[in-house]
Each structure stands twice: as structure tokens, then as C-alpha cells.
Amino acid sequence: MRDFARLIKRLDTTNKTTVKVQALADYFQSAADQDKVWTIALLSHRRPSRPVNTTLLRTYAAELAKIDLWLFEDSYHIVGDLAETIALVVPQIQEVLEAKSLTAYLEDIIWLKKQEDEVKKAYLQKHWSGLPYYERFVFTKLLTGGFRIGVSQKLMTKALAKATDLDEDVLAYKLMGNWDPATISFQDLVLAEKAGDSDSKPYPFYLAYALEDSLEDLGAAADWSAEYKWDGIRAQLIKRNGQIFLWTRGEELVTDRYPEFEVLKETLPDGTVLDGELLPWIEGDIGSFNDLQKRIGRRTVSKNILKQVPVMLRAYDLLEYKGEDIRHLAFEQRRAYLEETLKGQAEDVLSISASLPFEQWGTLANARAKARLVKSEGLMLKRKDAPYRVGRKKGDWWKWKLDPLSIDAVLTYAMRGHGRRSNLFTDYTFGLWTENDAGERILVTFAKAYSGLTDAEFKQVDKYIKNNTIERFGPVRSVVPHLVFEIGFEGLALSSRHKSGVATRFPRILRWRTDKTIQEANSLDDLKKMIP
């Protein structure tokens, strides 16, 4: 475990991807095989289930530190991470425990889950008092959750490829699916060759830039094709040798999370690669991104959630046709093959993103104005004669998104951030004016946001909050209403679950309105008028 803790420390002390990959590759070259399997599991969200609930963890840690629970809780609110708080408050060690492998610790954790509380307590307190600070932190992290060290499955796979000289995409395929780190060997998981290993190999995505200039600057309207821009997850769907593979833009293989596409095994021809958007498809209509979030990151999909939030792929490009890479062909040509390929496919699972007919640029502006009504976030413009390029390239694809809706609101509550923002108040709640029953003008909460300010602005607002706190509720503070911010959001819907009666989609801070007093902030009625 010492080398694993050292690895986590190295990963945690750098922001450079190359250094992270190197640290992981070094580890994969030197660690014991079974520790490697567990490391892969931990970094791809396959940790054993939590053996001890957090209430007990807090109680046992506070007891060991000889402090009251309230003091532990207050410390936790400031530190911002449970495992870190525990590692910090428990007394410094007197005698170091004998070293154990990472695998041994994880076996302990699996065993621990079934034990009586007294056994759990004794085990935890023994290890907290017998491990040096950083190992104590990593040990506790194994019990509580993700490491938040900026290592994606993709980055981990890259490092493993570097350490084993295996192809990265082949590795990604090997690591997907349901394997159990407690039983599988490194040989079986990583090294053994499997038939069809490279069938899953995706193409790099071509990414568009946001349109900066006017449409006229793009040249003749006739050279361009337009379609709506969908607000889901960019994905590549592959059918080869009777198998289906689904990749997302983070180049993560997620086939097993979306069983909807299984049916395409029968109907889609082999040697087909589609580029499109993964969208929630609820009762014949596109759902909201909030719906889709219920599916993202969920490894095992229950029948209930499958019924609640089914997904579909809205395809807009074809990269491989009859087993042949056709990315060099003109968009228009690929589009023709795409239409041909999608004919007769189950439309509730796979549909085409329609082309918008237009002869003049002016017509497009009208289409864009209607984007919100068809649940899209704007338009995509693609040059008809362009090939499918690699990565983000200017010139052939442009996204022409809708401007966000916005409103001026008053900062009313603040909470400390997490991770690199712990100890700074960076999570804010905003209010709009309304009248209560007595006819008084009051602020009602309408949205929370924690992004959109610069570090310098966060620091200034943090200082204001610390000096102008009215009341504290655990980690939350109510603040003297004084600061006004312009809040942007993508959509609005009536909601009975929100105090204001309105739910906003992706609220974020657009700017700090230092020029406005709180009296000049908007009202809830102003917001309701924006609901389509």
C-alpha cells in the first residue's frame, strides 16, 4: 500500500497530464500484479462497496481524536473532504503498522463489511493510529469514495498502454464490462489476447468551434449544410463482427451502460461506425439533460431506470461504411450513405438528425430562433465538401448556439467549495424579488451556481461573505444581501419541487454586476415571463 499511497501523492501534486501518465506507468511497471488489478479497478470506479457508513466513520474518528462530534463536523465542513478530515484529526502515530499490500487492504475492506460494529471500530481505529499521515488518508479514501485526482479512465488506460506496450483502444475494450478485481488476474484482465480485441476501435472525434463571425463571412449559403445542435452526449456507435460498441467523447467505452443499442446487433450492417448524440428519449420526445444525468456514470442499469429514461442515438455522420473508412469523403457524400444505412432501423433507438433546408443565411436565423422549441441548443453548420477531420479544427464545422437566458439576482447564501476550493466560499445561492402574503418585498431562492467567476473574483466575494455573514447553518451561511450577479441558464421549466416554482437548466454566473444595487435586481415575475 505504501507504493500506492506514493502514487496517489504524485498524482495529487501535479496538474500536468504527462507527469500523471508517467507516475501511473511507473507504478504499473513496478507494482505487484494483483495490486495493479486493484489500482485499475479503483481508478475506473470499481471500488468495493463501502464497508462502514459515514456516520460510524465520523463517530469512530472523533472518538479516537478525543473530540466531540460537533467539533469533528465543523472541521469537516472546513476541510471539505471526509477522509482528509479523519486523517488530519486523529493523533499522530506512535508505532507504524507492519506494511501490507494494497490487495490485502482491499481484501480487509470486503471482509469488514460483514463484521459487527465493534469489529469495524477496532479495525479502523487500529489502522488510523498505525499509518503515517498520507497512507492514513489513502486508506480512508479506499473506504469513502473517489480520489478526485484528475485521473480519468482514459488517462489510466493510456498509462497502462505505455507500461505494457499494448494498444490503448484494445486495452479500453479489455477493461470494460463487469469484471471482479477480487477474482480476475492481471494476466486474464490485461495481458491475455482475446478474439476481436480491436473490433471496438473508434475514430477520433471531429469537434466544432463556436461561430465567431457573421454567417455571411462563411461564404455562399449553398456550400453549407445545417442541422439542429442536440444537447446530449457526443457518441460513436460501432457495429463490427456482430458486436456493438458505444464510445463517448471522453473516449470512454460505455456499451454496457446503454443496453438499448443491443437490438442494433441484428439490424445494423457489420462495418458501420456512426457519429451522433446520445439523447434521453421519453415517450417520443427528447428529455432534458437532467434526465440523461440519471444514466451517465451508472454502471449497472436497473429495469426501472431503463423504463424511466430510455436513450437513443441521433446520428449525424457516418465514418465507416461497409467496413471501409470513409472519413475522407465529402460530408454530403457521407450524409447520403448515412441516410441509406439508417433506413429501416428502429427509430426509437437510432434516428437521423434532419438537415434544415435553407437557401439564404437569413432563413437560418429563423430556424435558430426556434431551436429551444425543438429541444435543441442551437444550430450546427457543416461545409458540404469537407472531410471528417481529427480533433478541434476551425473552418468546416461551426456551432451556432443560442445565447443563454439571463437574469440579475442577489447573492443570499454561500457554501464552501470542495477539492481545490475547500475553505473558500464558492458555491452560491441566488434570490429574486417577490412579494410575500403581507405585501413585503422579499428575496426568494431561485438557483444555485458555482462557476463563472475568476479566482480573483471568488477571493473578493469570499472575503465579503466572511465579513457579512448573518447566520450559519453547518457549512452554509446566509449573507447580507448586497451583491448582484447576472445568472445565465439554458432553459426554464415550472417545477413544484423548487421554492420559486421554477427550475433552471445549467445555471452559472455570467458576470458580477458591481454596477447594480440589489433593488435593481430582477423579480421572480420577470423570470416566469421567460418560460416558453
Binding site: 495529487d12 501534486t13 501535479t14 496538474n15 481524536a65 473530540i67 466531540d68 460537533w70 467539533l71 469533528f72 465543523d74 472541521s75 472546513i78 476541510v79 471539505g80 473532504d81 482528509e84 478530515t85 488530519l88 484529526v89 493523533p91 499522530q92 467549495g417 470542495h418 477539492g419 481545490r420 476550493r421 475547500s422 475553505n423 473558500l424 477571493k459 450559519r472
Partner: protein, 370 residues
Amino acid sequence: MEMNNAVGQLFFLKWLYFMSSSGNHSRSSADNINRKTPLLVFNDKGIYCPIADIYIDAWRPVDKCIITHGHSDHARYGHKHYLTHHNNVPIIKHRLGKINVKGIEWGEQVSVNGVVFSLHPAGHVIGSSQVRVEYKGEVWVFTGDYKLQDDGVCQAYESIPCHAMITECTFGLPAFNWRPQAEVMEDINTWWADNAAEGKTSIIFAYSLGKAQRILKHLNTDLGKIYTHGAIEKMTEVLRSIQDFPTTELITRETQKKDLLGQIVIAPPSAHGSPWIRKMVPYETAAASGWMAFRGARRRRAMDRGFVLSDHCDWQGLLQAIESSGAEKVICTHGYTDIFSKYLRSIGLDARTEKTQFEGEVLESEKEAV
């Protein structure tokens, strides 16, 4: 170390002399002060002794002010008369320019209107004091900023028995537990040696008064040369009259990048990310601060390394200081005041919080106004 009466009297006269404008006035108004008024109060200008009409570490200009130490949130510009430990005199003169300042010894008693003031080592930085205030047998202590650990640079902290203690609590959370200085310095020296082996320059960020000299004093000079930023060099130069430090070399326009490879540079936190630093590639950066105990703080600062080293008390240090003083009444000034005073009440002390403008150890660079 108590002063004998004759010497005490002498300084009482001097004190009155340099504050001659209000000497008689304070005596007559003192009689009108209700004895229920605490010996020290907090007003909008600072910590104030109404009977003696004297402030301690005032944040607005006042007539007479006792200064605990040279950091800018405690030693401010604009007072008419300053009284401080004599080791702090060159420091505040360097920072504040021409001021009317009087330096005294540890334990030397200064009486004003029946109130006896004396300064005692706080162990925070060179010349840092606690202020002991006694009136008719009642003793108050204002700690200023302090730490219990002997850092080998400044006079070590001395526990003062008192009835009421006004304490800072910058790190008043059980999450803060300092390791012994020798271990942290060993880490810093190892880090320097590792960087040197890779042909890189080591840049460590530390306050120009206090932390910089504490690190400097304990660097392993066998590893190479120690370079400094101007702010650090100037302050260290001032302190060399009080304490011995290894030789340092100021970085100037003439300093070549290759001269710095493998060496260590001590710079103020405000230099982080500046063009001055960027010229030194390849380098590794580190910060030395109590806040480096927090992973979030380490990552926010985007430092390659964070060493947990503070000139303030950790949790146990604060508790130990309060316990050994025997104080029944504790007033917490800056830091995690609410949590810390709540804890003190839970163990039976009469504890509360007072708002001041002291900042304690600030993570970012705003304190470094040199």
C-alpha cells in the same frame, strides 16, 4: 525575568515623557472609569486599555500603541508613539520608516496610571511579544501571534500566568497538528537535494519576515547556494544584527539562469507566477505554510510541493498555552474563533470572540506589502 523597582520607575518616567501630551489627562479621567470596565476592551481602533489610555496593535492611528510584532496587520502606520521589544524596533522602522518608537527588554515593567505593562516572548518571529497587563492584582495577557515550538531563530515562547487571556486562533481546529520542525526542515532539504540532482532550481515561498529566516536558518548549506528575492534580502539584512544566518545572495538583473540551477531561492508568496519567477525555468516550487496541511489549499496554489510549517500555534499548542496560563477567561481574536471559543466553553472556560482586523497567517499574497 522581573525588573527591579528602580529600573521600572525610570522607564515609567520615560514612557510618560514620550507621551507627554496626555500624561496628566489620563490620570484624571481614570478615576471616572467604572471598575466594572474590563482592563482591556475592543473598540473600533484596536485593543484598548481605558485606565492607561494605551492601545495594543491598533489598526487605526492612535496616540500610544504597544506593538506585539512587525507583521503589517499588527504594526500599522500612523501612531504617534510606538512601544515594542527592542528587537522589533529595526523591523518596524524598516517597514514603517520614520516613527517615534521606544524599545524595551523582556519583562521590563512600564507603569502608566497604576497599570503595569510588560512584554514577554511570543515565539512567533524575531522581536515578537505577548503583552502582560496588570492592574490591582488582575492580570491580562494578549498573546499577539505566537507558537510554542522553539524555532531556533526567535526567543522561545514563555508561558505567563494570567486571569484573562486574549489569544489568536488562526489554526484553532483539531485538523491542525504540526510535526516537529526538524522533520519538516529535513523534508525541505531533501526536496532541494532532489531538485538539484535533476538540475532544477528550487523556489520556496515564505513571508519575508519570519518564515523566510526560519527556513534560511535551517537550510543545509552543503547543498548549494541560497538566493533571495529583494524583499527577503532586505528584511534578512535587518535581522542579521540580531541573529546569525547563512550567507545569501540577492538575485539581480545580472544573475544568470545557469547560476541558479541546483540552488535554492527564497521568495515572498507574491512572487508566485510573476515574470521574475518564470525566467528561472526549469524550477520546482514549494510553499511553507500551516495552510499546506489542507489538500485543497495545496492544489489551489498550484505549487509543486507544500510544506506544513507555521509560526502560529496548532490546536494542541493553543490548548496547552491556555491551560498552562491558568486563565479562566479567554477571548479569541482571529482565526477559527467561533469554533475554538465554542470548544473552550465546552471544557468549562469563559470564552468568547472579539472581532479584530488581525489576519493571522494568510495563504495568498495580500499580506506581503513590503
